[in-house]
């Protein structure tokens, strides 16, 4: 298996899919000539030409709407947001058009579109550019929401997302574009949407982590192992549809759960997971589900405060110790 970066894995996924299907095109700010703000679309303009790799003006609502229309007309657009913070401008097209069209047209119009781009915090980009948006999009029926945490997952899931006939919100993490990992060489490597991955098996506590918090949770699990606590780390990978079954099975085994997420806790994905655990595995819980989330405040610019506002290994370790009644 080749070891490549998350950025390269995403690039490969798009390239392979565009080679496979001429209806797929990429549109967004700086995706063509500049090859992407994060260089995810490197080489695509050269290979596929400017009919299929299109630089848009700075008009999120506009090009998101173009994408939805193109999808209705039979194409398979991939819309890149320079960051998902800017997708806020496009939410009317995403939520009111893309998510609803299949239902409101009585099944006549499917919307095979992928909205993708970096999500969550980066390095000192402050309040307006550090938001994790998954709970927004996961909230509305009609959208699928995907959050990979490894290059392999990124590639396999993006290919599935592009092939999916429903609108998919594909959330990359700005801090993770450079992380490296093994990616299977097989030509048609895909990972089905809606399937969680047990990133580490354990028996004493379950850590449900996604995107940025997956490597943190794995590190925390290593430290906890030294303290005699065996942690299972589950990465749902897809937030919608959520593979709650895998999580519940793990809870039944470990009886204790910590959800680690970069986003705010209030009305967040962690809250949803906690609620579903309470509904489906109440009698298996030996401790309340504990959430480690981003601070309930706008992201500070200051480096030290930014660090405090984000989940880290120490916070996850402390939370697991708490639910395991070790402190």
């Amino acid at each position: 298996m080749a070891v490549i970066t998350m950025r390269e894995a995403l690039n490969q996924a798009m390239r392979e899919e565009m080679q496979r299907d001429g209806n797929i095109f990429l549109m967004g700010e700086e995706v063509a000539a500049y090859q992407g703000a994060y260089k995810v679309s490197k080489g695509l303009l050269e290979e596929f030409g400017d009919k299929r790799v299109i630089d848009s003006p700075i008009t999120e609502l506009g090009f998101a709407g173009l994408g939805v229309g193109a999808a209705m007309a039979g194409l398979r657009p991939v819309i890149e947001f320079m960051t998902f913070n800017f997708s806020i401008l496009a939410t009317d097209q995403i939520i009111n058009s893309a998510a609803k069209m299949l239902y409101m047209s009585g099944g006549q119009f499917k919307i095979p579109i992928v909205f993708r781009g970096p999500n969550g915090s980066a390095y000192q980009v402050s309040s307006q550019h550090s938001q994790a948006m998954e709970s927004w999009y996961a909230h509305f029926p009609g959208l699928k929401v995907v959050m990979p945490s490894t290059p392999a997952d990124a590639k396999g899931l993006l290919k599935s997302a592009i092939r999916d006939d429903d609108p998919v919100i594909f959330l990359e993490q700005e801090r993770m574009y450079g992380i490296k990992g093994e990616v299977p060489d097989e030509e048609d490597f895909t990972i089905p949407l809606g399937q969680a991955d047990i990133k580490r098996e354990g028996t004493d506590a379950t850590i449900v982590a996604r995107s940025l918090t997956v490597p943190l949770a794995l590190k925390a699990a290593e430290e906890l192992e030294k303290m005699g606590v065996s942690c299972e780390v589950i990465d749902p990978r897809t937030i919608r549809p959520l593979d709650i079954k895998t999580i519940i099975e793990s809870v039944k085994k470990t009886n204790r759960v910590v959800v680690a997420e970069e986003s705010h806790s209030f009305c967040g994905v962690g809250a949803e997971i906690s609620a579903q655990i309470a509904e489906q595995a109440f009698d298996y819980l030996d401790a309340p589900v504990r959430r480690i989330s981003g601070a309930d405040a706008p992201m500070p610019y200051a480096k030290n405060l930014e660090k405090l506002a984000l989940p880290d290994v120490e916070k996850i370790v402390a939370a697991v110790r708490e639910v395991a009644y070790l402190d």
């Binding site: 005699g228 606590v229 009886n255 030996d286 401790a287």
Partner: protein
Amino acid sequence: MATQVVMPKLSPTMEEGQLSRWLKKEGDKVSAGEPLAEIDTDKATMEAQALASGVLRKIFVEAGSTVPLGEVIAVIAEADEDISEIVARAQSGKTGAENKKSIEENVEAGQDGAQQELATVVPEGARTQATIQEQPLAGDAGEDGSSKSSDEAVQASSGGRQLPAPPPPTVNQQPPTNGDGAPDGRVIISPLAARMAAEANINLQTLRGSGPGGRIVKRDIEAVMSAGGANQPQSQSPQAQQQQQPSPVEAPPQAPAQQSQVQGAAAYREVPVSEMRRTIARRLATSLGPVPHFFLTTEIDMDKATEMRRSINDLDPELKVSINDFIIKVTAAALSQHPQVNASYNDKTIRYYDGVDIGVAVALEGGLITPIVRGTDKKSVGQIAREVRELAERARNRQLRPEEYMGATFSISNLGMFGIDEFTAIINPPEAAILAVGQAKAMAVVRDGEIVVKQIMRVTLSCDHRIVDGATGAKFLQTFKKLLENPLYLLA
């Protein structure tokens, strides 16, 4: 944190107690477990011990006074702590009545060991010294032992996947009480622990949780279960353990102190049924009940077989033939002559097997399995010996393939190595019979009117009466006996 010391219920009929003597005075430092006062109840004089460490700040009840159950008799607190509120409330007299009510409820909800289940009441947030323990009898150091063994049991039961033990309680650690979260005396418990307790029939009133705010959690229930189940003296509160463990230094285990307090049904622990055990249960329950068994026992003179075995092994030590290998070989030969015993009853038909496949019971950790020597009748003793050794080895490593232990035509179970003289085995359906083999040992027997010493071994044949009648079984055993007593027949 200030701790109120209350008049405890020291006997089931106690309504009030006389404070006969204070053993500490105001301003004295006290440590958890130290005697505080002597109290006369309607039955006896008992010593009240401090449950918290600190300074005996205030004594409300003078020696000689009689006060009702639940009355606050003193306060233990830090030297510089503000206790004015507690003092005011205690002096208002309200606390006592509330406490008394709670004590009675607790005792009622608890069990007969009311001397153990003592007042635990905490009015409005302040902690109350819940328990004043009955003073152990002189020389009776066992309390430590019992609590230790309970702790050890928790550890022992934990295996590899238990969380690390919580830090041992220290003397200045406040006992968790209901007061933190449930002034109404509600049991605070995790959903999982509640379910486990319900399933194991554990009385939660006797239990104190080790979680935050006194929450009863999984490990507390496991501790009770491994200490011997519900309603055991060991299942007492951390307060009691705290008293019993003034220091975390290991004390040698001692006999439990209060044997007389063991009451109710015997303790037990429940472990999940393993897959193997479940299979054994399912298979054998289709045997002795539905299959009408009868049993035939005979004695075999093993002198010649023993001699022959020795000779064979002398010829080739590599063979390592055992007596059991001889028994297997002879059984196969006898079955060839008595096909009625090498058969299965199938409701509408009786299946007689052409060949002999003998299952040999092998004991495993947590169960047993019967690997099969296929075509036993066609194999030499040496072949059988090798094959049985190899099968048993793989059986112990759980490496047998299903076809290697399923579908024998006859089974042999040998408990001779455990010193068993004779026993009856349960048929492994659909086989028609099983041979239970006891140990061979030197015995005085009568031969030609003389008492001589012989190697005698008893075997019992269990037969499925639906196919094997008494005489059929007896004739088979007769052949078996003849062959084993004269193994040269195997060559004839």
